[in-house]
Amino acid sequence: MQVSPKTVQGTVHNTDNQRSARPLSPRVSVYRWRGPMLASFAHRISGVVLVLFVPVYLCLLSGLTASAADFSDTINWMHSPLGRLLLWLIGSALIYHLVNGMRFILLDAGFSETREEMRGSARFSLAAGLAAVVLLAVYLW
């Protein structure tokens, strides 16, 4: 998995003619599996998961705000095994994405940019995500 920095640099600095052969970001197979890399990657995965849940949110919203029968049907669906599983997934992804998103905003604003701080905050985000996974599971089951 690990490629020496020299190889990476050699491929990055192409001449203009070879631009199409350059490795494109993010080089998942090249980066070392460190906290910050994992935090960024998890941010992307949780982001995709959340996008997929927008239609689910819309279904819930229209169900909950329609007739009284629709309301109780929707509540029953949320309590079904599939409903709980989806709520668990969306909630975990949401909390991780929120915590790590605030971390990104702080980094963009120029806070905590040293390597050690980046690793520490990445571990914090990942820990918050794990905590969300466990706590939501306890809450839902």
């Binding site: 203009d16 631009r19 494109l24 970001s25 993010p26 992307r44 982001g47 995709v48 959340l50 996008v51 927008v54 239609p55 949110y57 819309l58 819930l60 919203l61 229209s62 909950l64 705000t65 009284a68 309301f71 509540i75 949320m78 309590h79 709520l87 909630g91 949401l94 929120l98 998103g101 605030m102 990104f104 905003i105 963009d108």
Partner: protein, 120 residues
Amino acid sequence: MLKNMRYGSAHNGLNEWYLQRLSAVVIALFMPMAFALLLAVYDGSLDQMRLLNLLNSHIGRTLHTLFLLALLTHAYLGIKVLVEDYVHVVAWRVLLMGLILTTVAGLAVWWFAVIWAWGS
């Protein structure tokens, strides 16, 4: 470096970067509210009447609409970054982004319709 780029959003990068963060802040403000409401409905502490009182008001609709716009903008820009990073064939990128933009627009229309049809 920049002027040699042949494709990608070479002109819009800062604009999109900024918009991604602005929409993130708006979502960070509203999403916890929506999540809390959903959980309150789930565990039965919020009935339909009180839910509708919260959502079916001018302020509820306006906040919901702002939330919707920020969320779909954020989602679109996020997927765009992923497509630009992982899909290396430009033709596929164009096709994918077209599909995604259509989907996002469709969701926006559906969502607007749900929010603004209440009580009518």
